[in-house]
Every structure is written in C-alpha cells, then in structure tokens.
C-alpha cells in the first residue's frame, strides 16, 4: 500500500515587513515518517511549521494537512494535531497532572492525563509544580501536552534546544518510541545529530528556501564525500596544492588554523597525507577524522556552519 501524504506544502511564501521568512517551499511528508526541517536560526523553520500548524497565515502557497485545509476545516484539524511550540512556558503554579488534565479537556478524545504522564516518564513529578521542573522535564511535559489529543500528526519545534546532553538523549528516546509506534512527526532542529538520528528524511533550509532534501544518507552521499580529515600543523605553511592533488581528496579548506580535507577513501588519504607532510618536513600537531555528516552537507552547500550566528 503506498503511504499517503500527511502534509503537503506547495510554493509556500511568507514575508515579515522586509524579511522574506519563507521563500517558496515544497514539502511532502508521508504518514508514519519522521521528517526533519534542519537549518540554522532564522532559516524560516519556525515560520514554516507554524503555518502548517495553522498559527500563522501564509502570504501565498498551498498547505494540505491530513487531506484537510486550514481555511475550511480548522476545528477538525485542531483535534488531529499535536503541537509543541518553541519556548512555551506552561503555567508555573499548576502541577504536571493539572496541566495535562487542562490540555486533555480541550480535546474530544485521547489518552488520559495519567497515561500521558506515563508515556513521557514523569510519574515521579506527577504532583510537582511546573515551575520546579528542570528544562528537560518541562520539555517532556510539553510533549505530553501534544499527545493528549492522540494526534495523527505531531509538530515538534526545536524540542531539544537549550537542553543538556543527557536530557536531550532522554527526549530522543521518547521521540524514537513515537516513531516506533507509527506516529507521523515533523520536527525542526538546528542540531544535525538530532536530524540524523531521528529523521527518516530531512529538508535542509537556509534563507527561507529548501536547499536539499532526502534521507540523511542520500544527502551525505550527494556531496560525494564520505569522510572529513582535519589536521593542524602549528605555525608552518604546508603546500596546499600538493595536498589537494593527493589521491581521494576532493576538497581542501582552511578554517580557524586547521586544514579540512574532504576525502572519499580514508585508508588511502590518511597515509598519503602523512607521507606528504613528511616530504614537506612539516610536523603534525593534531589529526582527526570523522565520517561525513549533515553538517558537512550544509557546509558544502552554503560555505557556512549550521550554528554560525
């Protein structure tokens, strides 16, 4: 059975005063997949997701959510969506249970507050005030608030921004459980590890446009580079042309005093580099290699890093 589209976006545009936030975007998200919008701050991810959530009106373009449209079916759509906004502060004086009871009352059907607490593993904090929760616990509560309507489509806007690594991993585990349960998820993030780990498919956004789209593996393969070799040589000046001409090296860049090589075959490039530096008589002070990531894809496409402000 062919998967049907949970979300279809065509030629979406939105301008704020003189800033073009979304500049002609097309997206297709299939039922049951976890789709990621990856990009730096200000790329237009939040505007895009909030238009899909019916919170912001687009200037032009078409948005079809679960086969419905915001203009004609808003109340039906609200029942079917689970939404986590970026940086929402829930009422501090309410307890976890009371908050979920409140949100549950807004929906016709869905799991009870107790079930939602269990799903996000906040049982111990059931009767704690929201104001006393840690950042990770607050995010898990926000996630629970998005689940109480038993949504067909889950929107998560930067679910782990600002969390410490442990809290982030805990949230990833939860989102992976939702995926395993067959939920359709659209999430935005500016963490490439997050997109790589959670998302079946990713759209990379920059300046309001989708600049690449596909599975993380496809995107990484598309830049024709499998590995990145990074090294420093202190104050010496190596002969870049010589290094660039080595077998398996596709690209050479310098950055913050380090040299970055994009290579296809690590087992040939690294010994070749060591030989070449030895021939030039230059001592190596640092050497690192990693498999190419979505970050490298972004750098390849834009010349900038995801987290550059």
């Amino acid at each position: 059975m062919p998967a049907k589209a949970a979300l279809r976006v065509r030629n979406l545009r939105k301008t704020y005063k003189d800033v073009v936030a979304v500049d002609g975007i097309d997206l297709d998200i299939l039922a049951g997949e976890c789709f990621g919008l990856l990009g730096p701050n200000g790329a237009g991810k939040t505007t895009t997701i909030e238009i899909c959530e019916g919170l912001t009106e687009a200037d032009s373009g078409e948005v079809e959510v679960l086969g419905l449209h915001w203009k004609s079916d808003a109340s039906a759509l609200r029942e079917k969506l689970g939404i986590q906004l970026q940086e929402t502060q829930l009422a501090e004086k309410l307890t976890v249970f009371e908050t979920l009871r409140l949100f549950r009352s807004f929906f016709r059907q869905g799991p009870g507050a107790e079930d939602a607490i269990r799903i996000v593993q906040l049982e111990e904090k059931r009767d704690a005030r929201v104001g006393g929760l840690s950042g990770g616990q607050k995010q898990r509560l926000a996630l629970a608030c998005a689940l109480v309507g038993d949504p067909d489509l889950l929107f998560l806007d930067e679910p782990t921004t600002g969390l410490d690594p442990q809290a982030r991993r805990q949230l990833w585990d939860l989102i992976e459980e939702f995926k395993a349960a067959g939920r359709t998820i659209l999430l935005t993030t500016h963490y490439m590890e997050e997109a790589e780990r959670l998302c079946g498919r990713v759209a990379i956004m920059d300046h309001g446009k989708v600049i690449a789209q596909g599975t993380p593996r496809e995107l990484i393969a598309s830049i024709g580079v499998e590995h990145v070799v990074e090294f420093s040589v202190g104050n010496a000046m190596p002969d870049m042309a010589g290094i660039g001409a080595m077998a398996g090296v596709r690209d050479v860049r310098t950055e913050n005093g380090s040299v970055l090589l994009q290579v296809t075959e690590l087992h040939k490039a690294v010994p070749g580099l060591l030989d070449e530096l030895g021939r030039q008589g230059i001592p190596l002070t640092e050497l690192r290699t990693h498999s190419a990531t979505l970050e490298d894809v972004f750098v390849h496409l834009t010349g900038r890093h995801l987290r550059d402000e």
């Binding site: 609200r78 502060q89 009352s105 005030r129």
Partner: protein
Amino acid sequence: MSNHPLFQLTLMRMREFIREPEALFWSMIFPIALAAGLGIAFRNRPPEVLKVAAVTPRLAEALRQEKLLDVTQLPPQLSEQFVRTGKVALVAEPATDGSVVYRYDDTNPEGRQARMLADQAIQRALGRQDAISGKDQIMREPGSRYIDFLIPGLIGMGIMGNSIWGPGFSIVDARRKKLMKRIVATPMPKHYYLLSFLLWRMILLPIDVGVPLAFGVFVFGIPLRGSFAALAAICVIATLAFSAVGLLIASRVRTIEAASGLMNLSMVPMWILSGVFFSSQRFPDLVQPIIKALPLTAVIDALRGNMLQGAGFAQMAPQAGVLGAWLVVCFGLALRLFRWR
C-alpha cells in the same frame, strides 16, 4: 462537567490565584486596611472638652459653669507660658480697669472656640440673659457619616481594581510566555478562554464585595437599606463591565509594563473623578455628564443609592444602563482586537 474546558480553565485561574499567597493577602487585606484607616481618621468623636485656665478663683468659678470647659486655676506668672506651650487653650485674667483679658492664640481654632465659650460663661455668670433660647437636635445616625459615604466608594473601587488588574495581568503574562498561543493551538473554542476570566471574577465577587461590606456593617454599623438582590445585581454588572475594560486593555499589549501603564491611565482618573473619597458634585457642572458616564461613578452612585437611600432595581436602572453599555462596547472591541499570540 469536570472535563469541560471552561471548568478546567476556571480551575486554572483559581489555582493560580490561591497559590500566589501575596496576591491573596493584598486583595483581602487592602480594602480592610483602607476602610479601617479612614474609618478611624473620620470617626465621630464625643464633643471635645477644652482646657482653659483662670488666675482668680472668681473667674475660675464662672468658667466652670460651662460643661465644655476643663478649668484650672494658675498663678498669674505662669499664664503666658501655659498658653504658649499649648497646655491650655486660653487663660482668663482680670484687668486693672475691671474688664477681663483673654489670653489665647487666635490662629488656633481651639483658642477661638475657647474664647467664645469662656466669654459666654463669664457673661452669663455676671447675669446676661439670652435673647432667645436655642434647642439642639443632634444628627449622629448611621447613613449620614463620612464612613457611610466611604464604604460604597471603596467597594466600587475594589470591584474596578480587581476586575481590571486580574484578567489584564493574566492575559498579558500568558501572551508573553506564549502560553496563550499554545492554548489556542488546541481545538478548544477561543471564547472559553476569555469566558473563564469572567467566570472566575464572578466566583471571587462575594469576596471582593463581601469583605469590605461585612467590615463596614459589623465594625462601623453602616446601613443596608436597599434590597440585597439589587445590590448583588449591580455588583455583577459592574464586575462584568470592568472585566471587559480589562480584556480590552489587555487585548493587544505584550508587556506587563505597557499593560500597567494603560491600566493606571484608565483607573486613576476614575479614582479622582468618580467620587470614591469625596462627592463628585464638587467638579464643575460642565464635566458632570462625563463623570456620570464613567463606569466607576455609575457603580458607586448605585451602591450609595442602594445602601444609604434604599434604592431598588428601578432607581438604579440608569447606572445599570451605563455599566451595560461599557460591557457591550468594551467586550465587543476586545473580541475584535484581541491578539491571540
């Protein structure tokens, strides 16, 4: 029922309120403290007895005939000092030519009053007859004292303050924290969100009004001459009208500072013009129609009419009309202008 969004939203208002001990304390204590302070300041004292002195036994005896004077006899050399230090308001001394000298400070009202009473007592002691006899009728009944005027004013002011601040602040705070945006991203009908504020004010109304009212009745014995149903009705309309003003003020602003500014801008003129502490009749006739159209004037006039003159539904209709108009206009505008994010 307990799963109805309106019930849960109102429950949230209640929990946020009772879990903020300071807010609870001030909203209860403030009207009582104000009423108590002003009540003490303007309490009805028994007629005051003035201290005076005389330097001869004969003058002292004459002065003692007046009940409102407390007379001591002084050696002549001390008289000047006693007046200067305020130990007595006046000293009566015989002059060498046989007349009486009154030594007192004529810029002090007590001194002038003592002068009148002392002279009258001495003249009568020497045989002066009054041309006509006067009889006193003392007016000290509840309903005509300052505290009777003040309590309805404080109740009206309390309804205004609580109804404007309460919803106004919660809304601006929820908007600032994006909680409002999150709540309207659910299928809940949006008007429930606004209705929950009105509902919560209604639940608090017995406290808002009851506390200062009970204080006035039990401590100062202020009268409740009108029907209680009419009193309750005017309080309900007033709460709805002021809450609508609060919603309108909070409909677009994003910061607490901007909201406080707008709230003060709307409330302070009414504190002054609407006759909380003194009669609004003191303002020029030209501005009276404007003053009468203010919601605080309407509720205070209605409350005073009801409590002090026994006004019923019919007599309070004009004020109820003014409040109803404010309710409809402000709520309509608020719904139109409201920024849900």
